[in-house]
C-alpha cells in the first residue's frame, strides 16, 4: 500500500467519525469573490455541535469575509448549511461609537429586543454586575468594557453558535481576566460552539478544539497540535516562522 492509499484510508475514517456526531455547520465549496478576486476560494469544512474552532491566517486571508459569509451578510457561491434551528450570534471586531453618541447601554440591548432583566443577565455573564452600568453612554465606556458589552450582546437570546471576530487577547478587559478566560467561562456555562478569528496562538492552543488555517484556500484543518505543524505555519505565514509552544 503506498502513501496515497494510506491517506485515503485515514480520510475515510475521519469522514465516518464526523458522520456519527451531530453537525451544526456544513460548508461545501464556499467561494466568495470581490469582483475578479477570490477572497475565499473553494472552502469545505464541517463543524460539530459544541466544537470550538479557531480561524487563523495572515491579514487579507479572508477570515472576516468567511465569518460574514457564514452570517449570510455577504454574497457567496457554494453551500453553507447550518443545522435546523441553530441560533447564530455575532460579535464584531471592535466598534468605535462616538464619544457623545446618545445611546445608553440599556438601549443598545433593547435593539436586540432584550429587556432590562435580560440585559442584566447577559452582562452578568461577562462579569459586569453594576446596575448603574446600564445607564452609561455607550461611547464613554472603556474599550475593554465595550468588548464585554459586545460579547454580552451576542449572548442575548441564548445562541448555539457565537461567531467572534478577532477578540484581541491582549486587551485589558478589567481585572486579571482576559477575553480568553471569559470565552472559556461562557463556553462552559452556556454549552455553545464558538467560532473565532484570532492571531493569538495561546488562544488557539488553550481554547480551540480545532483550527482552520486559511489563506484564501484552506491550508489546514484539525486539532491545534496536528494542524499547526511547522509545514502549515510556513504555508500560511511564509518561511521563517516558528512558534514556541509553552509546555506546562
Amino acid at each position: 500500500m503506498d502513501f496515497q492509499d494510506n491517506q485515503n484510508l485515514i480520510d475515510n475514517k475521519e469522514e465516518k467519525l464526523l458522520e456519527s456526531v451531530e453537525l451544526i455547520l456544513e460548508v461545501k465549496n464556499l467561494t466568495v469573490s470581490f469582483g475578479e478576486e477570490k477572497v475565499v476560494d473553494n472552502l469545505s469544512f464541517n463543524l460539530k455541535k459544541g466544537e470550538n474552532v479557531a480561524i487563523m491566517g495572515p491579514n487579507g486571508a479572508g477570515k472576516t469575509v468567511l465569518l460574514k459569509a457564514l452570517l449570510d451578510i455577504l454574497p457567496y457561491q457554494g453551500e453553507i448549511k447550518w443545522s435546523e434551528n441553530a441560533k447564530i450570534s455575532y460579535v464584531p471586531q471592535k466598534i468605535l461609537p462616538e464619544k457623545n453618541l446618545p445611546l445608553s447601554v440599556e438601549e443598545f440591548f433593547k435593539m436586540k429586543k432584550a429587556g432590562r432583566e435580560q440585559a442584566k443577565e447577559a452582562l452578568a455573564s461577562v462579569g459586569i454586575t453594576d446596575e448603574r452600568f446600564l445607564k452609561k453612554m455607550i461611547g464613554t465606556i472603556s474599550s475593554g468594557q465595550l468588548q464585554r458589552v459586545l460579547v454580552a450582546w451576542g449572548l442575548v437570546g441564548n445562541p448555539d453558535v457565537l461567531l467572534f471576530d478577532e477578540p484581541t487577547a491582549g486587551i485589558d478587559i478589567g481585572g486579571e481576566e482576559t477575553i480568553f478566560n471569559l470565552l472559556n467561562k461562557i463556553e462552559k456555562e452556556r454549552n455553545l460552539s464558538i467560532i473565532l478569528v484570532t492571531h493569538d496562538m495561546s488562544v488557539v492552543y488553550g481554547f480551540a478544539d480545532s483550527v482552520l488555517c486559511l489563506n484564501k484556500k484552506l491550508i489546514c484543518h484539525g486539532s491545534p497540535a496536528e494542524a499547526l505543524g511547522q509545514d502549515s505555519l510556513k504555508k500560511i505565514y511564509g518561511e521563517g516562522v516558528t512558534f514556541y509552544k509553552h509546555e506546562h
Binding site: K68, L71, I73, S89, Y90, P92, I95, P97, N100, L101, P102, L103, S104, E106, E107, F108, K110, M111, K112, K135, M137, I138, W153, L163
Partner: protein, 250 residues
C-alpha cells in the same frame, strides 16, 4: 409646527455622518420640482416631492451600479438639480423657492402637512432603533437581519416627505436646517436615545412656535414682502442650539 416636530425627529436619525450630507442636500434637489410647479401652476409641494423621489431613485440606482460613495453621488445630483432648478424657476419666485413664503401656504396645504408629519413620525419611529443599530455597527445590524439598504431608502423617502411639505415654509435652503439643527441641539444635551429623539422633536416644535410667535411683529414692522418666516424659525432653533452648548456635558 407638526412639520417642525417631524423634521426634528427624522433629523435625529441623521446622527449618522454618512447620512447627514445626504439629508442636507436632499432639500435642494426639490428645486427643479418647485420651479416646474411654479411654471405650470401645480402645487409646489407635489412638484418638490416628484423631483425628490426622482433624485433619490437616481442616487440609489447610481450607488448600486457604481462604486462611488453616496456622498459624491448626492453631490452630483445636487448640483444638477440646482442648475436645472435655477434655469426653470421664474426669477421673481426664486427667493420664495429658496427661503419659503408662509403666505403661500393654504389651509388645505396645512392639513396635508399635518397628516404627512404624523405618518412620517410613525414610520420613523418604526425604523428608528434599526437605523441606530446600523449606525453603531453595520455588520451587527446585518447579522441581526436588518436590511440596511431597505431602511436607508425608506429613510430617504421620509426626509423627502418632510422636505416636500416643509418647503413652502422654509424654502429649499432652510428646510434642511429644520431637519439638522434640532438634532444637533438634542445631541448636545442628551445622554440616551430616548432623551435625544424626544428632545429633537420638542426643539423642532418649539422653534416653529417661536417662529410663528415672533413673525407677526417683524412682519408688521418690515412688511410681509420683506420678512419670511423660514429664517425666523431657523434663527429660533439656532438660539436653542446656543443654549444647548452651555449645557453640553464636559
Amino acid at each position: 409646527m407638526f412639520i417642525g416636530g417631524a423634521a426634528g425627529y427624522v433629523g435625529s436619525l441623521m446622527a449618522t455622518k454618512k447620512m447627514s450630507l445626504v439629508g442636507d442636500v436632499l432639500s435642494h434637489i426639490a428645486l427643479p420640482g418647485i420651479g416646474l410647479g411654479l411654471l405650470y401652476g401645480i402645487n409646489i409641494s407635489l412638484g418638490a416631492l416628484a423631483s425628490l423621489i426622482l433624485g433619490i431613485m437616481l442616487i440609489w440606482i447610481l450607488s448600486l451600479k457604481t462604486e462611488l460613495s453616496m456622498e459624491s453621488l448626492v453631490g452630483v445630483v445636487f448640483v444638477l438639480s440646482l442648475a436645472v432648478g435655477f434655469l426653470i424657476t421664474p426669477q421673481e419666485e426664486l427667493l420664495d423657492a429658496l427661503f419659503g413664503n408662509i403666505s403661500a401656504v393654504a389651509m388645505s396645504d396645512a392639513v396635508v402637512a399635518v397628516f404627512i408629519s404624523i405618518v412620517v413620525f410613525i414610520a420613523a419611529r418604526m425604523i428608528y432603533s434599526k437605523m441606530m443599530l446600523a449606525y453603531v455597527s453595520e455588520d451587527l445590524a446585518l447579522a441581526s437581519g436588518v436590511k440596511i439598504n431597505k431602511y436607508n431608502l425608506i429613510y430617504l423617502f421620509l426626509i423627502a416627505a418632510v422636505v416636500a411639505f416643509g418647503i413652502k415654509v422654509g424654502g429649499t435652503l432652510l428646510t434642511s436646517a429644520m431637519i439638522i439643527v434640532p438634532a444637533a441641539v438634542a445631541r448636545n444635551a442628551s445622554r440616551n436615545m430616548r432623551q435625544y429623539s424626544w428632545l429633537s422633536v420638542i426643539v423642532g416644535i418649539a422653534s416653529a412656535i417661536a417662529g410663528f410667535a415672533v413673525f407677526p411683529f417683524l412682519a408688521e414692522r418690515f412688511g410681509l414682502s420683506v420678512v419670511a418666516i423660514g429664517p425666523i424659525i431657523i434663527l429660533a432653533s439656532i438660539v436653542f442650539f446656543a443654549v444647548s452648548l452651555l449645557f453640553k456635558k464636559r
